[in-house]
Symmetry: C2
Subunit: 198 residues, 2 copies
DNA sequence: TCAGACATGTAACAGGTTACATGATTGA
DNA sequence: TCAATCATGTAACCTGTTACATGTCTGA
């Protein structure tokens, strides 16, 4: 149940509506957590019942009414308690890796398409994360930023996101190289590949 | 429902019992998928019903009987069909990143402990993955291996696993540096930190 | 005029986790 | 003798996903 904790730390950026939170989540937390908005609204209701957040309804005339959610002292306390427990290892699920494992029995073309799609997504994410870093720095260099900012947490996760996506790009390039080389070979000389003991 | 596909490609390494599969999964698939064994046995039963795998019961006297599971033609076909569909973006969930985001209100010591635990795990995984690569290569260099091996898929995912864990180590080191620097600062000079506009 | 942003929720279903049940064999 | 390995499964519970419901405002 760490969706709850993910929401709590996201609320450190200030109060928000469920709708805003789901966007903030997409931008700020996208490199380490994900959630559907249906799940998010449900969890917010439970968090309110447990006293971790407070909600005030803002009546709007031109829009549906909204519920502004903010952290309570108990919510901040819950973040501190969570920090005391050791974290399990990252669990990741990447369908592209399943396909990579099965490449030797599958169609290489479709896999290469998937690879280049993934590469583009990663490039776009790097750009987004780097823009976030620049706006956090506000002209300061890294050292000054780290010494003077009130919140360094979001910067740490952005660093991880950037290196993760750069690595993704590098892997896509390397994999494309290997898969294309084998494709080219297959056409050229199938006689070399008979009776291998591999 | 890609646990199914993850199991299918894992079975490309040859037939196995559910028990063996769960271990193989831990070793070979741990850098891109995870599953509980309860889930795995249940899925294998469904896969058998769908004709993707065949199971034969091996009677044992000194051990409980076991069911050897292997891929059918339909199973291999299912891998091919899966490869045709585009993959969604990776979904990752990393509690350590939640803690990093909340570091500014939490206890830094506990976080640093978690960091060094994570670092150790990553170091151990790199070692394990590199051993796997060496045993795959069987003395060949990368280029020769790629040109002559029957299955390059597992190598591709190992490459991703190695770079992922190296990156993890680098992030842990960088993060430790930043967090310790801020810790040291806090004690030294709180007057510098009053009335910042940040 | 039409898509997309704003805004909150419910219901049904699918997927994943934890605990339990059973019990012999093997190596430290 | 004690923990780990081999070996398969069920049941209860928790989490996560998809589809649906509703309706206005704003900008292209």
């Amino acid at each position: 149940m760490s969706l709850r904790q993910a929401l709590l730390v996201t609320l450190l950026d200030g109060e928000a509506t469920g709708y805003e939170l789901s966007k903030r989540f997409d931008i700020a937390a996208s490199n380490f957590w994900n959630a559907q908005q249906a799940q998010l609204y449900a969890e917010l209701i439970r968090m309110e019942a447990d006293g971790l957040v407070e909600a005030t309804t803002v009546v709007q005339t031109k829009r549906p009414n909204k519920r502004l959610v903010k952290l309570t002292e108990a919510g901040i306390q819950a973040i501190r308690e969570f920090a005391q427990e050791p974290s399990p290892r990252t669990s990741l699920k990447d369908e592209l890796m399943i396909k990579a494992t099965g490449i030797d029995v599958s169609d290489a073309e479709a896999f290469l398409d998937d690879l280049s799609r993934r590469r583009e997504i990663s490039i776009a994410l790097i750009d987004r994360y780097e823009t976030s870093v620049r706006s956090m720095f506000r002209g300061r260099d890294e050292d000054t930023f780290v010494r003077t900012t009130r919140r360094v947490g979001p910067y740490l996760t952005l660093l991880r996101g950037i290196s993760l996506e750069r690595d993704n790009v590098a892997w896509c390039d390397e994999t494309k190289r290997i898969v294309t080389a084998r494709l080219a070979m297959r056409g050229a000389s199938s006689e070399h590949r008979v009776n291998r003991t591999d």
